[in-house]
Amino acid sequence: MRRAFLFLLLVIAACTPSDERTELRIQRFFGACDADYGGRTDIAAAEGECGIMTSIINAFEAENPDIRVNRNVVFWPGYDQLTAQLAANDAPDLVTMHGSVISDYQARDLLLPLGDAMAEQGINTADFTDAARRAVEIDGQLWGLPIDTWAPLWHINMNLFREAGLVEEGEPILPTNKEELFAQAEQFRQRTGKPYFVQATANEYASFTRNFYTFIYQQGSSPYTEDGRANFTTPEAAEALSLFREIYERDMTTKNQDYSASVSGFLNGQGGVYLVGTWMVGTFEQASKETGHALESGYTVYPYPQLYGRNVTYADGHNWVMPADPSRTPEEREAALRFLEFFAEQNVHWSRTGHLPVFQETIDSADWLALPHRENLAPLAANAQPLPKSIRRQFPIETIVGQESAAAVTGAKPVDQTLADMERRINTILDNL
């Protein structure tokens, strides 16, 4: 009996075809959506970050029969897992990574430079937008393939703007300085009875940080010194915080809403301008097509208006990077580069997520400009401003800046004390790297 069983196992093993394809391990966030997109390869028909990403990977595998893609989807953002994998010498071949995080890994020699290899593979790295290049460039080397650039935007309820008399020739009237902003917000409240802004101000720190950085940069200053230290005890930083404190104190914004409540609030017409990133463009555009919706035929979106001397907006982006792994074979490396080339060719499809393309050619293309509101967003390719790469630990720093900013904006803490505390806490982190 035992012999028969062993014989059966041997027969099964002999009949099982061996997989001689090169395995490419891709690790990414953006969630899983296999129920809808598990077997789909039609990239043009896919929707949303997860759907488009899944379809691109499926299509790549279908077009490259010599490569087997091992997909590892991780909980956003996945850096705990990646760090653990690197510590265990078990890193994947390609990983999604925010531009703000790349220097954390690059500084510890955990990533491989990809500039020359991508160029050899036929990826036109010279065509990267300024924002995309700044996301992956350190010391003159490119450490990844930019996937997109994202930035906070002014999502606008045009129906309420019309009611407030803030529309001219079909376009929203946006402020060009602080005084205009307050005047328009006052007019908006008088005519609509609603606050000008919808904001996530409860249990949400990232938006505070993005606003803070944006308006420091717009004043021609920088939140960090050239030698990589926090520089928040400046008049420009005080002005940036005071701006949002005044907005809050003068009831020009919704209050006590977390992220979900603020999204819901904007969708339900609770305010005129929602400060949130590129990823919501598709959701709001879809809502504007629904009959009876608060945004029906009344949604548009713009980059942050220039209220001070410089026209810039804080930005970040998603990228593909290749972790260092001495055991990676030339075939696996080649498979990874072929995937990057394939992904780069799908840039216009990925940009349907709402995020900004990374190739100038795509931004200038009729295909991209034909997408809703993209003409308004095109200037971001030049105006997007990530933090300098010399600043590491940007994720935990974002939380500190957001926590402190929230305290100042809501009036729980004086602005000067907030800035001093923020600077001290962040420099403690930076000094210990």
Binding site: F30, G31, A32, N72, W76, Q85, N89
Partner: protein, 274 residues
């Protein structure tokens, strides 16, 4: 046995308490049957139809989910078995056997209760990296088998059993192991049921260690696996899906509790009566 009758006021308080505790669970259950798009605009729509099974179908649409369930079962059952064996043997030894440095060793074991997992996680990860054991069931199970609480619980339970029972069995010619295996161990079943459920629940719900040890999707446990399927801002754009995942992940635990609730109640009642 005569059933105890609760005073009406006490009964009312118990019911109110139960309802308060049930509301969040019912809220989660209700949201899990609503479409994500509806909940994006307004979560109060949970009170009105239409309801959908779409979120649950999306869970099953991921081909890996059954593998993750099996992984969680293997890890949870393996850890539970290991803890019960080790804790029972150690508890018997500390309660019944006389050996050098017994009290000192017992104190050292108890000190383990004061060391949080966070304090040892890096060293533990490095140990398993050194022997290239990550992404194995062994790595997922073994660390959880060191349970000072289990040893303490079983020691106390064995101590509470009268020594006359052992002595009678020894007089009848039973060996030490027979006394342990056939006489004392059956008496500790309520404690073992409690400990077993506690360990099973802890292992089933564990997230951190499986997250950094089982990093390949083939080795994800259910908690890590279902978290990986969430998109960023899932609490906003995929709320219904998120809630269906919570319900789905909790179901096996509910079943375990329903099967073993008799033992849990016995153990709690026994401890209270002593």
């Amino acid at each position: 046995m005569r059933a105890m009758r609760l005073h009406p006021a006490a009964l009312t308080l118990v019911i109110i308490g139960a309802v308060i505790m049930m509301i969040p669970l019912l809220w989660v259950l209700g949201l899990s049957f609503k479409s994500n798009a509806e909940l994006l605009a307004d979560t109060s729509r949970v009170f009105s139809p239409p309801y959908t099974l779409e979120n649950y179908l999306n869970i099953f649409g991921n081909g890996e989910v059954f593998r993750w369930i099996i992984n969680s079962l293997i890890v949870s059952l393996g850890m539970t078995t290991g803890v019960l064996v080790i804790s029972s043997l150690a508890g018997y030894a500390f309660a019944r056997l006389d050996f050098p440095f017994r009290n000192l060793i017992f104190i050292i074991v108890l000190l383990g209760l004061a060391v949080p997992e966070q304090a040892v996680i890096i060293a533990r990860h490095q140990m398993f990296s050194a022997v290239e054991m990550h992404n194995t069931y062994f790595a997922l199970i073994i660390p959880g088998m060191a349970t000072p609480f289990g040893v303490f619980l079983m020691t106390q339970y064995f101590k509470a059993i009268p020594k006359d029972i052992d002595e009678a069995a020894l007089l009848d010619g039973a060996s030490r192991f027979t006394v342990f295996w056939k006489v004392l161990l059956p008496l500790t079943i309520p404690a073992q049921a409690t400990l077993g459920i506690f360990v099973f629940l802890t292992a089933w719900n564990d997230y951190w260690w499986p997250l950094i040890s089982g990093t390949n999707k083939e080795m994800f446990t259910l908690t890590v696996g279902i978290a990986s399927t969430q998109q960023n801002f899932a609490q906003t754009e995929g709320l219904g899906f998120l809630m269906s995942q919570a319900v789905f992940a909790a179901l096996p635990i509910l079943i375990v509790y329903l099967i073993f609730q008799k033992y849990i109640i016995q153990a709690v009642a026994g401890a209270a009566g002593r």
